[in-house]
Every structure is written in structure tokens, then in C-alpha cells.
């Protein structure tokens, strides 16, 4: 049996070795805020935090998570970035938004006042096919407003 700590709660699961964390979150635990888009680690839609570090859950085998704490978008529902994304209209279809906010939360935790270049460097792994990048940047640059 595998124990995972997710958003502060401990879950005990019986999982095959090849099961990626994203599928565990969505299908075994009902945490459907984490999205699966490319499914191969390219797009960033599945980003979660492992001990605060943005990580691609679609290519992370659940059995390799170990004692690291998993934080999903559901664990960030009170984060000011959520309001910032709404206020700045930083989405169109919204599918990439959970991954965007998870990545951005790690950036502002390490660097509360990032420059535009720092935002672009830290957010380069979260693709938005609607092209909402300018407003995503604005949301992160003004997250405390």
C-alpha cells in the first residue's frame, strides 16, 4: 500500500507501479482540478507542487512521490492568485488555468515581486492554447493588488 499526503490529508492507496500521479488525483481521489492535456510532460496542465516544487504529475509515478507533500489546485483555493486570475481575466477556456496558478504560486512564494522576465522564465512550462499569456503575466505581476 502507498501513502500519499495531499493538500494536508493522508491517503492510503493500492496502486500499480506504472500509475502516474495525475491519474491517481483525478480518477482515484476525485481531485479533478488537476488537468491532463498532453499526458507526456510537455504542456504543464497537470502541474502540482511536490514539497513546493512545480512538478508534472502526468509523468510522475505515484510510487516515486515518497514522503513529499502534494499540493494541487484544490489546496490553493484561498490563494490570492485565484482572485488575480479572475480580476485580470487571465483565461479563456480555462483548461490550463489550474496548472498556471500552481506554477505561479511557487514563483511568488520564492519571489513575491517577480519581474516580467522572471515571470516568463518561471511560467515557460505552462502552455495556453487560447493565448492568454499577456493577462496571465498581468495576473502574476499584480497578484497582491
Amino acid at each position: 500500500m502507498l501513502e500519499l499526503t495531499i493538500n494536508g490529508g493522508v491517503h492510503t492507496l493500492d496502486l500499480p507501479v506504472d500509475r502516474p500521479l495525475a491519474y491517481v488525483l483525478r480518477e482515484d481521489l476525485g481531485l479533478t482540478g488537476t488537468k491532463i492535456a498532453c499526458g507526456e510532460g510537455h504542456c504543464g496542465a497537470c502541474t502540482v507542487l511536490l514539497d513546493g516544487i512545480p512538478t508534472l504529475s502526468c509523468i510522475t509515478l505515484a510510487h516515486t512521490v515518497g514522503e513529499r507533500e502534494v499540493t494541487t489546485i484544490e489546496g490553493l483555493r484561498e490563494h490570492p492568485l485565484v482572485d488575480a486570475f479572475v480580476r485580470t481575466d487571465a483565461l479563456q477556456c480555462g483548461f490550463c488555468t489550474p496548472g498556471q496558478i500552481v506554477s505561479a504560486s511557487a514563483l511568488v512564494a520564492a519571489n513575491p515581486s517577480p519581474t516580467r522576465d522572471e515571470v516568463r522564465h518561471a511560467m515557460a512550462g505552462n502552455l495556453c492554447r487560447c493565448g492568454a499569456y499577456p493577462k496571465i503575466e498581468e495576473a502574476i505581476l499584480t497578484w497582491r493588488d
Binding site: 507501479v17 506504472d18 504543464g44 516544487i53 508534472l56 510522475t60 516515486t64 512550462g125
Partner: protein, 277 residues
């Protein structure tokens, strides 16, 4: 499939081979397993088995690219290569040891065409779509090695310590042959443990890609100066990281119709890198 998490390198090596594969960050291996390109009965998770961290010129194989890109002890060429590689999430997950072993992005190989690199007879890229492919060493296979850090380590003259020997990064790679289609000389149960990266007087990494962030190199050029000597390592131009002494070596390139532009890019980046030193 089974997963083991050995406590040290010795146990990890004992668990490798015979259908067991080493798993570090998993950024390349997990998709390859899922797509059936690579098969394993057992995954040997290396989290506790290989050193992680930077101590002067020594870099543990388990150190992530994200850790390398921000550490001032690391030569600029390697820092810049790591910073321009992949995406932030992949850099936080991927280790330098795993990066040296990453597979080509050739879509014929990734889509499981029965190509020469998979053990077949022909390189489909040579007759097909090959804009991202090789300009050197492409007689049998036109795939391009995608690692930015490997090119930097090649230019820097880095050495690799495995569980059983020491060798240079230049010796680590070799063009695949009819007898062995692998691009490294390591045994199936051999584990990269540590790198030793000499400190140059100056170094730089320049990269041409299809967009400004998060793309594999069309051409990557690492340059390192030690005294009067300048060494170059190129990414994205051959099935393995490719060393050149100067832009003149590009006269010996063997580009395909769709990769001739890479010769011009490499020439320009080598000149820029040289003047940046």
C-alpha cells in the same frame, strides 16, 4: 512491473540489468515506458542511490537541472545550457545523470517506425521529414542528440564517474553501429554517479530554437576557453553531442537537404560564442 528503491549505489547496480531500468527524474523514461518504446520488468528508483548536490567542480548525478542553473559554482556554459533546456517543471524533475542518457526526439524513432536506430534497415528521416535532424555523423541514422547540458559538458571537458570507471563525456558517447545501436558506451547495469566539471577561464552556451522558451535545440553551441585553447560542443547536430575545434570543421558537415540551414546557424553561433569569450 515492480519498483525498487535501493539505499545506495551498490544495491542499485546489483538491481540493474536483466529487464531492470534505472529511474531518476523520469521525465524521458516514463513517457518512453508508456509508449512501449522501452520495456522494463523492474524500475530501480535512484533517489537514494546516487549523489545529489554541487561541491566545487564535482556534481552529483542526481542533481537537477534547476539546481545547476542557479548555482554560481557551476561554469556559465553549463548554467546557461540548463536554464535554456526544457521547461521549469522538467528542469526541477530531471537530473543531470538522466539528461546525459536522454533519447533522441526523432519522431520516426518516437513513433516506433522500424527504423535503423530501432534495429531496422533504414533511417526513415533521411528520406522523409528531417528539418530537426543531424548534419554530422548521420551516415546510418540522422537523429539529433537533444541535450543542451551534454554539449556544455563536452566543451568543458567534463569527466564522468560511474560505479566502475571514470571516462570523459567525449568518451561516454559514440555513434551507434550495426552491432550496437546505443549512443553511449555504458553497460546496461552501469550507473553514472558523479561528474567532475573543470572550471574554464570563460564559457558560454548559445541556442537556436523554434521559439524563445521550452524547445529542443535546432543548434546549441557551448564554448569554453582554457587559457589560449577554446573547445566547442554542439547539441542538435548529430546522433551524439558533437565536438568541433572551430567553425572550419563545419566544412566537413554532411547535411541532409532539410538540415543545410543548420550549418549556417552553427557557423553563426560558433562565431558569436567565440567573441563572447
Amino acid at each position: 512491473m515492480e519498483l525498487r528503491r535501493p539505499p545506495d549505489a551498490q544495491h542499485a547496480v546489483a538491481a540493474l540489468g536483466n529487464g531492470s531500468l534505472a529511474l531518476a527524474g523520469g521525465t524521458d523514461l516514463v513517457p518512453l515506458l508508456r509508449d512501449g518504446i522501452v520495456r522494463a520488468d523492474t524500475l530501480v528508483h535512484l533517489a537514494d542511490a546516487v549523489p545529489r548536490g554541487i561541491d566545487g567542480t564535482r556534481i552529483g548525478a542526481g542533481t537537477t537541472l534547476a539546481e545547476l542553473e542557479v548555482d554560481p559554482q557551476v561554469p556559465a556554459a553549463l548554467r546557461e545550457a540548463c536554464a535554456q533546456a526544457a521547461s521549469p517543471q522538467l528542469r526541477s524533475m530531471g537530473t543531470i545523470g538522466g539528461n546525459l542518457r536522454q533519447a533522441t526526439r526523432c519522431w520516426y524513432w518516437r513513433l516506433r517506425f522500424p527504423c535503423w536506430l530501432h534495429g531496422g534497415e533504414v533511417c526513415h528521416a533521411k528520406a522523409g521529414q528531417h528539418r530537426e535532424h543531424a548534419i554530422f555523423g548521420n551516415e546510418r541514422c540522422a537523429s539529433a542528440h537533444p541535450s543542451d547540458p551534454a554539449a556544455a559538458l563536452l566543451a568543458l571537458g567534463a569527466r564522468v564517474r560511474t560505479d566502475r570507471r571514470e571516462l570523459s563525456v567525449a568518451e561516454l558517447y559514440r555513434l551507434p553501429t550495426d552491432e550496437s545501436r546505443d549512443v553511449v558506451v555504458l553497460a546496461p547495469d552501469e550507473l553514472v554517479l558523479e561528474l567532475d566539471v573543470p572550471l574554464p577561464d570563460a564559457s558560454v552556451y548559445l541556442k537556436a530554437m523554434d521559439r524563445k522558451k521550452w524547445a529542443f535545440p535546432l543548434v546549441g553551441v557551448a564554448a569554453a576557453r582554457f587559457g589560449d585553447r577554446v573547445a566547442f560542443g554542439l547539441a542538435g547536430v548529430a546522433p551524439i553531442p558533437w565536438a568541433v575545434d572551430s567553425a572550419d570543421d563545419l566544412d566537413r558537415a554532411t547535411p541532409l537537404p532539410g538540415t543545410a540551414y543548420k550549418v549556417q546557424i552553427a557557423r553563426a553561433l560558433i562565431a558569436r560564442a567565440f567573441s563572447a569569450l
